[in-house]
């Protein structure tokens, strides 16, 4: 009996549902008169302990399921010949392990952060459920099972987006929902056709397409597969269904943004990997217009995402655009259909997960400690939170791809894969776009570091109002209108800032900082010691190509 591998699915879902149900019951019991009460310190502490234990136990179970050999479970037949079927293979292992680690780390960070967002119980309820669903998605053994959990993931992660309940957040959540649904239905359209023309929908390395049956229906099959690429690409922020991502990721609370951008966007990648390499088969697509169009779309997305990020002044939005661009690096690596490219793509899946989470956690710290969201307001921030900014800098360097950080390794493989895949002009254009995008990445990430550490003269100073009553009004006004003030006022403020700078440390509490340090360290260390991961990814790529 291998059914125990579903424990990491059911346990967190159950834990999350318990949280949500008890929340609803409690609200009913209290009656209508009382407004929503903020939970007390002790209650919160219990909640955190509950979440941490639930996640840790399921994480351990997930690791156990991933590393104790091949497992498969058939639950029941959803349709004739299509069971709900789970199977652990190398791809499942990769995703399950990385997701589990990230989920736990981000949870620890969120314990402090979510105090300022409120409604913790609802947040953690959905946070746990989404984790369970992601595990199910990783372990899914056939296309319909994967589709099932893909839909559930969309539905259960939506409340994370609209958490703060503002109009903007709700609109963004609906946008997220409808784009994802649109993508999912494009995917479903393809599944119908694959069901007809494939021997089985069970994931099989190298694909199961029945070429004899498909004879004469190649066109419709290619259209269907292209629809699936676009559809599942929606979650990964690929053109043309990318527009929800820059709207939805930034409005979520920062821990949620981190996992949405870092992890859930990768669910789209996982779905595409499954479709292309495990059902359709890369050989069917090689050299067709679908491959050409796919490569074109990914490269356009890479460039467009970076460009938009470069122009975007709101920090979290900038990071969201960066996700659009970076996830399409992965998709480009897949689209060239070569082993090296796929190795690079899988590496970038892992590295981008780590790096993007680190970056969003930094953004969260900036918002949490200073209440600022725009990039130009972060000038001089490095003097007050050097550790945070250093972490940010390392993660940025990794994302740009500067050796010896992790991003360099994955991008190396991506470029090499494109060069030797024999995809004609894309072999040259691809790496060129990746390089230009890397430059842009440097352009949109590093200015925060430079102006944070070297503000140059006049700086706005965070947190002065609380600590220095004298002249607070003046500084508050400086704080609000930034650089628009005349130079005299700025000079005054600058002087005050200069005197206070050393005294004020805005560094967050260790509970927040440690997860960030872990992720930033991982971003660098994975680049220094990449070989186990490269071998693992290479093995996967060799098995399907």
């Amino acid at each position: 009996m291998d059914a125990w591998i579903l424990l990491p699915v059911f346990l967190p879902v159950l834990a999350g549902v318990i949280l949500l149900v008890s929340l609803a019951l409690e609200k009913r019991k209290k009656g209508e008169e009382q407004p929503d009460r903020e939970p007390g310190e002790a209650e919160l502490h219990n909640l955190h302990r509950y979440v941490a234990v639930a996640l840790a136990v399921s994480g351990v179970l997930a690791l156990a399921a991933a590393f104790s050999g091949e497992h498969s479970v058939t639950l029941f037949e959803l349709l004739k010949g299509i069971p709900v079927y789970f199977h652990v293979d190398d791809i499942s292992r990769l995703f399950a392990v990385v997701i589990s680690i990230i989920w736990l780390v981000v949870a620890f960070y969120s314990f402090v952060y979510m105090k300022h967002e409120g409604k913790e119980q609802r947040f953690y309820g959905f946070y746990l459920i989404v984790y369970g669903v992601l595990m199910a998605l990783s372990f899914s053994g056939n296309l319909v099972t994967m589709y099932l959990f893909y839909e559930i993931m969309t539905l259960t992660s939506m409340p994370l987006v609209l958490h703060n309940g503002s109009r903007e957040a709700i609109m963004a959540a609906l946008k997220y929902l409808f784009y994802s649904m649109c993508g999912a239905y494009l995917g479903l359209f393809g599944i119908f056709f694959l069901y007809k023309y494939c021997d089985t929908l069970t994931f099989t390395a190298g694909g199961t397409l029945n070429l004899e049956l498909a004879q004469g229906n190649i066109t419709i099959l290619l259209i269907a597969v292209f629809g699936m690429l676009i559809g599942f690409g929606a979650k990964a922020g690929m053109l043309p269904l990318h527009a929800w991502l820059p709207a939805a990721h930034p409005v979520a609370p920062s821990p949620a943004s981190a996992v949405l951008s870092g992890v859930i966007a990768k669910a789209g990648v996982l779905a595409i990997i499954r479709v292309v390499f495990y059902v359709v088969g890369p050989d069917f697509l090689r050299g067709t217009w679908v491959q050409t169009a796919w490569m074109t779309l990914t490269l356009l997305t890479v460039f467009m995402g970076s460009m938009m990020a470069f122009r975007e002044p709101v920090f979290k939005k900038r990071l969201a655009y960066s996700t659009v661009s970076q996830v399409s690096y992965i998709l480009f690596g897949l689209s060239v259909l070569s082993p090296v490219g796929m190795t690079g793509a899988l590496l970038h899946v892992v590295f981008h997960m780590v790096i993007k989470c680190a970056l969003f956690l930094t953004a969260g710290i900036f918002i949490f400690r200073c209440g600022e969201t725009r990039v130009e307001q972060f000038r001089g921030i490095g003097k007050q939170m050097p550790k945070t900014l250093w972490c940010y800098t390392f993660a940025s360097l990794a994302l740009i791809g500067i050796p010896p950080t992790s991003g360099f390794v994955s991008k190396w493989y991506l470029a090499q894969g494109a060069l030797e895949a024999g995809v004609g002009v894309f072999g040259i254009v691809g790496p060129a776009v990746l390089l230009v995008s890397a430059l842009l990445t440097a352009g949109y990430l590093l200015p925060i570091t430079t102006s944070g550490f070297f503000p140059g003269g006049i700086v706005k100073h965070f947190g002065i109002e609380e600590k220095h009553e004298a002249g607070s009004a003046e500084e508050a006004s400086v704080g609000q209108s930034g650089q628009e003030n005349n130079s005299a006022a700025q000079a005054d403020a600058g002087k005050v800032a200069e005197t206070n700078r050393k005294a004020d440390s805005l560094e967050p509490v260790p509970e927040m900082l440690i997860p960030l340090v872990i992720l930033a360290a991982l971003a660098v260390l994975l680049g220094l010691f990449p070989n186990p991961l490269i071998n693992f990814a290479g093995r996967i790529a060799a098995s399907v190509l």
Binding site: A24, K27, R28, E32, P35, F76, E77, L78, L79, K80, V144, Y147, L148, E151, I152, L155, M158, P159, L162, N164, G165, S166, R167, I170, A173, L174, L177, F178, M181, C182, Y185, L186, L188, F189, F192, F193, Y195, K196, N217, I220
Partner: protein, 491 residues
């Protein structure tokens, strides 16, 4: 002897229902017990009949030597009869709570119960004439139900309904005549009854007649361009909209279409002709059209009515594929849509009846106040969208399997239309769900202090429908096998 029960299940509710205003009930409870008892007995009889199908037909009487009013149970009739027999007692129960504050209750229940018999008459009709008779009767007995409130709006709506339905029936009648003339028998026979020797050169004319007949019957199934009566008829009390305008009446239209397609004209005669393309194109267009109107509509019941328009065309699309698999798809969506749509309508009715709110934008924060109703609504909504694990996915899968299997490019477009429709369904259902469960952060719950879950008579049907949605979704094997055995009778 068994055969006589065929007529009993049709006539018992008609006669028993007609007695409701005449019987001297002492109080409301007695009337409730009588009505519910009558419907339950009849449902039990009908279901017993369906499980022990008599082989022979039962002739009620003869108009002429070969025109008869006769009943017989076959596979397709079983499906429709089973759906209505299961749903009717539940909806009557719901109606007791809903109608508490309405006037003319006895008249209402009289027609409500009579309609049950008439619908069973359509399901169990042995030949096309019998079906046509009950089809016309259905229009007439449901008219007072739409008119029930006697407001100007209701009278107008019932008038529209009458004109559309009678007009449609007139076109259908042309088809009936041609079936009688060119068919070997008026009885429904799997694979059709057309006498190809008699048709001879007149193939194109018969195809034209088929298209007219299809469009005539599909007026009741609210296919574009004859769909606008259905949203208007939403002024009727919710038990009527839920049961008749999501299941009995509209599915009678779809049922009649399937009967003439698969059992009278015959799919072999029609497949690949221009007639098939015309009706399929109309169905495909309606699928998208209905959903788009639903997205635009803000009145909650009218929104669901437009959704019904779209979903009934799923069934018509399945019928228009004209393969055995298409029939399986159409029938499975008939079953699935019955439970999902009735569930969502009853939720809407509970909201309207208990709170007086009728528009989508008034539903902010209702999820916390009416958790059970909105939980049921969410499940029904997800099922309508076709989330796997719920019944909507099963029926959609069957439909699309048939479409892909037919290798007809137009059917491929239909698949795309189904996907677009699913997306639009997500939009019009989930906006309500999100609004109800996640109101804006400055939302004041005091404004909806009066809102709370309804009583058990309303909640019991919800619970049963939700269980049905999930059960069919997770364990579809018996249902699909049953439907496949029906389709297997087609040559």
């Amino acid at each position: 002897m068994n055969e006589a029960i065929l007529a009993v299940v049709v006539l018992l509710p008609i006669l028993g229902g007609a007695l409701i205003p005449l019987l001297p009930f002492k109080n409301r409870t007695q009337m409730m017990v009588y009505t519910e008892g009558l419907v339950l007995v009849n449902s039990a009889l009908a279901l017993a009949l369906l499980f022990h199908r008599p082989e022979d037909s039962f002739v009620l009487f003869r108009f002429t030597s070969n025109l008869t009013l006769s009943f017989r149970v076959d596979g397709m009739g079983t499906v429709f009869a089973a759906i209505v027999s299961v749903l009717w007692p539940l909806c009557v129960l719901y109606a007791f709570e809903y109608m508490e504050h309405e006037k003319h209750e006895k008249i209402f229940f009289m027609f409500y119960v009579i309609t049950f018999g008439v619908t069973l008459g359509i399901a169990l009709a042995e030949d096309v004439v019998t079906m046509y008779c009950f089809y016309e009767m259905l229009t007439l007995v449901t008219l007072p139900l739409i008119m029930h409130t006697l407001t100007r709006e209701a009278v107008l709506a019932s008038r529209t309904y009458l004109y559309y339905s009678l007009g449609g029936a007139a076109f259908a009648f042309i088809g009936v005549i041609f079936i009688l003339v060119y068919g070997t028998t008026p009885n429904f026979t799997p694979g059709g009854v057309l006498d190809l020797a008699a048709v001879g050169e007149r193939t194109n004319m018969l195809l034209l007649i088929y298209v007219l007949c299809f469009m005539g019957f599909s007026v009741k199934a609210a296919m574009w361009p004859f769909s606008s009566w259905l949203p208007q008829a939403g002024v009727a009390p919710t038990p009527v909209t839920a049961l008749l305008h999501a299941v009995a009446v509209v599915k009678a239209g779809a049922f009649a279409v399937m009967r003439v397609t698969y059992y009278s004209f015959g799919p072999d005669f029609l497949r690949g002709t221009w007639a098939q393309h015309v009706v399929m194109a109309l169905a495909i267009f309606t699928i998208v059209y209905g959903c788009s109107r639903a997205v635009k509509e803000t009145h909650i019941k009218r929104r669901l009515a437009w959704s019904t328009v779209s979903n009934l065309s799923y069934i018509l699309f399945g019928a228009a594929i004209m393969t055995p698999l298409g029939l399986v798809g159409a029938l499975s969506h008939m079953v699935a849509h019955a439970v999902m749509k009735i569930c969502s309508f009853l939720c809407a009715g509970a909201v309207i009846c208990k709170t007086g709110r009728e528009y989508v934008h008034q539903l902010d924060g209702f999820g916390r106040k009416m958790p059970k109703v909105f939980a049921a609504f969410t499940v029904a909504g997800l099922a309508l969208m076709g989330v796997p694990g719920l019944c909507g996915f099963i029926s959609k899968w069957q439909l699309v399997r048939a479409a892909v299997d037919s290798r007809d490019p137009l059917a491929y477009i239909g698949v795309a239309a189904l996907m677009i429709s699913a997306l639009l369904t997500a939009i019009y259902m989930l906006t309500i769900v999100v609004r109800a469960f996640f109101p804006r952060k400055d939302f004041d719950y005091d404004t909806i202090r009066d809102v709370k879950d309804p009583g058990w008579k309303m909640l019991l049907p919800f619970a049963i429908f939700v269980i049905a949605i999930v059960t069919i979704g997770l364990h579809s094997r018996p249902l699909i096998q049953g439907l496949e055995s029906i389709a297997a009778q087609l040559p």
